[in-house]
């Protein structure tokens, strides 16, 4: 009986909260041209950032500070997983090796998956995508290797170092901006050097966006692979 009472109480609560939220939502003029800053971005994006993908320009350039934060969040996630699953000695415990089809397919595909991931992050300022999906694609390549081979392990130490170096490079790019342009995360490649001004829409443009996206791609790729690696190995007690 109690559980029915409890459940109906929860349902009633949900209905009240839902009604209240709906009230709030109905007061918002969705679909209207209300986005003050959005308009500004669309009008000025190419001149100010050199990227034809406005979303990327907002993410990496105008609001790059948030992206630096998001990169940090991912770094924390992988560090946290590493800290909590830490053990003196851990080994993979998978028992069945992948089938011949899987193994052959993956051996052939892995380089192309990595290549495609790199393609996504290098073209971040031109096409949809960027460092995060590109990095995630690269991590899939390693996930596939783990699936096919019971003995496979990533070069852990190298990956962790790469991750750290990539993170530092992002901050260094930002600090160079501070030194050259006087502002943290200032796009010195585009606004001071005017590099690629005649090249808008091609790969060598977009200021520091491709640079940062390459860094993010490498970082996210190694990070997610590290998380997979951490979760697939289990503690071995001597």
């Amino acid at each position: 009986m109690v559980s029915i009472l409890k459940r109906s109480l929860a349902v009633i609560m949900l209905l009240i909260i839902g009604y209240w939220l709906a009230q709030g939502l109905s007061g918002i003029p969705f679909g209207q041209d209300k986005m003050l800053v959005g308009k500004y971005y669309l009008d000025n994006v190419i001149r100010q950032t050199g990227a034809i993908n406005a979303v990327t320009a907002v993410v990496v350039n105008y609001r790059g500070f948030d992206t630096l934060g998001e990169v940090t969040v991912l770094f924390i996630a992988s560090t946290g997983v590493g800290a909590l699953l830490w053990a003196k000695r851990r080994e993979r415990t998978a028992k069945t090796e992948g089938s011949i089809v899987l193994k052959t397919g993956i051996r052939l595909l892995t380089p192309f998956v990595i290549l495609f991931g790199a393609y996504i992050f290098i073209h971040g300022h031109l096409t949809p995508g960027g460092g995060f999906p590109g990095g995630a694609t690269i991590a899939t390549a390693f996930l596939l290797l783990y699936m096919a081979y019971t003995m496979y392990e990533i070069p852990r130490r190298a990956f962790e170092n790469t991750e750290g170096v990539a993170g530092m490079s992002y901050v260094i790019v930002a600090l160079i901006g501070l030194a050259i342009g006087g502002y943290f995360l200032f796009d010195w490649i585009w606004q001071t050097w005017h590099f690629g001004v005649n090249n808008v829409g091609r790969i060598l443009s977009g200021g520091f966006i491709p640079v940062i996206y390459t860094i993010i791609g490498i970082k996210v790729g190694t990070e997610l692979s590290g998380i997979i690696d951490n979760m697939l190995r289990e503690e071995v007690r001597e």
């Binding site: 709030g24 998001e70 924390i76 901006g177 006087g182 943290f184």
Partner: protein, 495 residues
């Protein structure tokens, strides 16, 4: 010097945290020393920023990427942020010293990264001038805090962390929906511009958005009924981290809450939100004090006490008056100092004697007299005895509460203080008047830190004027929204 260099407050902890994986093989001592050096550098930069802000009287506006707000993200380091960024850095530095004694669990390199990033997250939350950026820094703070809570890898730690993660996750999604509503209604994410446009928002929308944001932040700010995670997390986390939670992580949450609350003060339904918050804060104080009374574990007891004192800060901020905000900031400073002292003392006892149960505190006055002195002074101050710092801020808060017309809340809070006195005096009694024991050697650096904190507590207790004038300036920074809007060089986009 170019004031944009204040962005180093964010850059230094970040780049140094990313560097830690590269020094993995160097051993525990080296990594702890590294953290100590970095926090010292951070404290140096924070001191420079503090000097700069308080001598010129003008806030530092850091514009990321050189874009003027609201197109880009700005950091607003006014009197409040300058003061608290300094407190964050100093507390982190002191706790980096404590790390040498208190943290033995592997992997130290990951601990060091999380430690630095916790400091970074709180710094960013306090400094940012953009509401979505606030969300990002809140995530950084919260996720580091989840990981650090579980760091000891015991069953309790895992449970506490999971609890925290579930509540924190719900809280951040509430906050995010609230931010989305505000963005939908105003078309901007910059705090100053939101304040400018707040009056035009449909009152129902504003009420819903603000309530969502407040519920979201209430998890971090440990307000009832969303604070169930706090005592568990405080108890399970490594001792230096507990002190950091209490000294600045929760403060960052409650500051963010107050900041957004006052930015939206032009909203028609603002008073309703204040009433909600006053009720939440008063309940926080009462529930936490009575829960503290039943605890056998001293660390957990002080955790409850911390929750209740933060409730008091919440109450002060919810009054909607200048006096209330000033008093709240004053309490934030004092509370940060005493809770560092208390958690340092209790943590040190737990490390030396193998646990923070009240049994271990019997005869502490004979076994570790200086640590015992620290815990005693912290307890006395927490209760609000004159000559110690909290007395003044509690007094200010109660006066402000009565002034604002909430005599009932003041009476309830005073009643709860009596409960607080009971359990703190029980602790002090156990320390000095029961038990026997041989004297143990106490670590010199930790004793020095405790004596320093005791000196500050007594100094503020006897001569509160300097700290009070700092709090008034910082409080004005939160309360005076018109000045805040004027200080941010908004670009004429839309509006």
């Amino acid at each position: 010097m170019n004031v944009q260099y204040a962005s180093l407050l964010i850059a230094i902890p970040l780049i140094t945290a990313f560097f830690v994986p590269l020094m993995k093989g160097l051993g525990e001592k080296a990594i702890k020393t590294y953290v100590l050096i970095i926090t010292a550098i951070q404290a140096g930069i924070a001191t420079w920023v503090f000097e700069e802000v308080y001598t010129t009287g003008k806030p530092i506006i850091v514009m990321a990427g050189g874009w003027r707000p609201p197109v880009g993200i700005d950091l607003y380091i006014g009197p409040f942020a300058a003061l608290f960024v300094l407190i964050v850095a100093l507390v982190s530095f002191l706790m980096a010293v404590f790390n040498f004694r208190a943290v033995k669990v592997e992997p130290i390199d990951k601990y060091a990264m999380l430690f630095l990033l916790l400091m970074l997250g709180a710094t960013g939350m306090i400094a940012t001038g953009d509401i979505f950026n606030l969300f990002v820094f809140m995530e950084i703070t919260a996720i580091t805090a989840y990981a650090l809570t579980a760091y000891n890898k015991t069953g309790e730690a895992a449970e506490a962390s999971l609890k925290y993660m579930v509540l924190g996750g719900i809280g951040s999604s509430f906050f995010l929906i609230g931010v989305a509503l505000i963005y939908g209604a105003t078309g901007t994410l910059n705090m100053a511009q939101i304040a400018q446009l707040a009056g035009n928002i449909n009152p129902t929308v504003a009420q819903v958005a603000l309530a969502l944001v407040i519920f979201g932040l209430a998890v971090e700010a440990e307000l009832f009924p969303l604070n169930a995670w706090a005592p568990d997390a405080y108890q399970a986390a490594p001792h230096p981290v507990t002190a950091m939670f209490s000294a600045f992580v929760v403060k960052a949450g409650i500051y963010a809450l107050a900041r957004i609350l006052y930015l939206m003060s032009a909203v028609g339904t603002w008073k309703n939100i204040l009433h909600l918050l006053i009720a939440m804060a008063t309940l926080t104080v009462i529930v936490a004090e009575f829960s503290a009374l039943r605890q056998r574990n001293v660390k957990r007891m002080i955790a409850y006490s911390s929750v209740s004192q933060v409730g008091l800060i919440g109450l002060a901020f919810a009054l909607g008056t200048q006096a209330g905000v000033d008093a709240g900031v004053f309490q934030m400073i004092n509370h940060a100092i005493i809770k560092v002292l208390l958690f340092l003392g209790v943590g040190y006892v737990a490390v030396q004697l193998g646990g923070a149960e009240i049994e271990n505190f019997r005869g502490l006055g004979k076994r570790m007299p200086l640590t015992a002195l620290g815990v005693t002074v912290g307890s006395m101050s927490a209760v609000g005895i004159p000559l110690f710092n909290i007395f003044w801020s509690k007094l200010r808060i109660i006066l402000a509460t009565v002034d604002a017309g909430y005599a009932w809340a003041a009476a309830l809070v005073l009643g709860a203080s009596v409960v607080e006195a009971v359990y703190y005096f029980r602790l002090v009694h156990a320390i000095w008047f029961t038990g026997e024991g041989e004297r143990l050697r106490e670590s010199a650096p930790l004793v020095a830190i405790m004596l320093l904190l005791i000196a500050i507590i007594v100094a503020i207790g006897i001569y509160p004027n300097y700290a009070w004038s700092l709090s008034q300036k910082a409080g004005n920074d939160i309360f005076n929204v018109a000045q805040y809007i004027k200080n941010v060089p908004l670009m004429g986009v839309g509006a």
